[in-house]
């Protein structure tokens, strides 16, 4: 590879790591609960990201590219893990029905635990649903989520609607428990 191309690849990666490093870290939490394995996953994403910039041609935005690479690497990671551990995932819809029978409990009363519960809920989801909920939590709209995940805008909007409903209910449950 020419030196200028290598320089460009390094530069693109440097910009991406600077801008999206924290988001990549949070994304890895959605896919891996174990902290050591999560650190490995974050490194794997960064290596894939650096390698991917060899082929980045600006066809999509830097943000879309970074999230696609990160989610695709993470999805491969969980698929591999599922094969080894025979884990079962659920869809957003199934989580919605499960939440009705789960008590809110003391666990939701503080920030850290609420975060742990939110993360645990995301980690149960199918990889594709995680590709919707994580960008949503990062503040993206349905169109951007559709571009990253590849689902139609209509489906993305429907899923976001469900996610909002589930999260609102769970957060209200937490707040109600706090008042008691």
């Amino acid at each position: 590879m020419a030196i200028s191309a290598i320089h460009r690849q390094d530069e693109l990666y440097g910009d991406a790591a600077q801008t999206y490093g924290a988001a990549i870290d949070r994304l890895a939490r959605a896919y891996e609960a174990d902290s050591d394995r999560r650190r490995d996953l974050v490194q794997e994403i960064h290596v894939a990201l650096w390698r991917s910039f060899e082929a980045f041609d600006g066809r999509c935005s830097m943000r879309t590219w970074v999230y696609r690479v990160a989610h695709n690497v993470a999805a491969t990671h969980v698929i591999r893990d599922q094969r080894a551990n025979r884990r079962e995932w659920v869809s957003i819809e199934a989580v919605e029905s499960r939440s009705a029978i789960e008590p809110a409990g003391e666990a939701d009363l503080d920030h850290r635990r609420a975060l742990a519960r939110l993360t645990a809920m995301i980690q149960q989801l199918k990889p594709l649903d995680r590709q919707v909920i994580v960008p949503y939590l990062e503040g993206m709209d349905a169109a951007s989520i559709g571009e990253i995940s590849g689902i139609s805008a209509r489906n993305a909007a429907t899923k976001i609607h469900r996610i909002k409903a589930i999260l609102a209910r769970r957060f209200q449950e937490g707040a109600r428990t706090d008042e008691q």
Partner: protein
């Protein structure tokens, strides 16, 4: 009790997480990328070693056992072992090219990954069972077993393989349902 939960704002909660992964320099990234390349090479080497052991084992049978048919059967199993290694390397291992990761949307990347796995499961009989059938059949015939024992051996082998095949077909169907769902979502 203090509720630090920002009620109704899961986005703020999610984004409030601090980043705890150490920053990697470009040099570290390069080192990791080289290590990953070496890991793939080592994995391939392990597969070749396993294949070599199978070849040695069947060659040993061909030398140790007596009788033309048994020896011929042992030799016929060797190309079967080569075929299995070739099939698994071609279809079984996930090693997406870097550009694919950024160009593919999540759903198409995930669907292709599931399709690849489905193919491995669906063609289980072809890559795991069929390559050894001619060799084992000739070997069994060559052992000159009493017809009754031969029938028992054949039935046991077939039952074992049928069980494996059934398990793989079930898993492939499950993946197919998921692939169908993904295709609907892409429309």
């Amino acid at each position: 009790m203090n509720n630090e939960l920002p009620a109704g704002d899961p986005r703020s909660l999610w984004q409030s997480q601090h980043c705890d992964s150490p920053h990697m320099s470009i040099d570290e990234i390069r080192t990791k990328a080289a290590a990953s390349h070496k890991r793939i090479k080592r994995r391939n080497l392990r597969e070749y070693v396993a294949e070599a052991l199978v070849v040695i084992m069947f060659t040993g049978y061909a030398i140790v056992f007596h009788g033309f048919m048994v020896r011929l059967g042992s030799i016929l199993c060797i190309p079967g072992a080569f075929f299995i290694t070739w099939f698994l390397q071609r279809r079984g291992s996930a090693s997406p090219v870097p550009a694919e990761l950024g160009l593919s949307s999540g759903i198409s990347f995930y669907r292709r990954e599931l399709e690849r796995q489905r193919e491995v499961l669906r063609w289980f009989w072809l890559w795991n069972l069929a390559p050894f059938v001619p060799g084992l059949a000739v070997m069994l015939a060559g052992f000159g077993l009493d017809l009754r024992y031969l029938a028992i051996a054949v039935v046991l082998i077939l039952a074992f393989w049928s069980f494996l095949w059934w398990g793989n077909i079930r898993a492939a169907r499950k993946l197919q349902r998921e692939i169908d769902e993904l295709q609907l979502m892409e429309e």
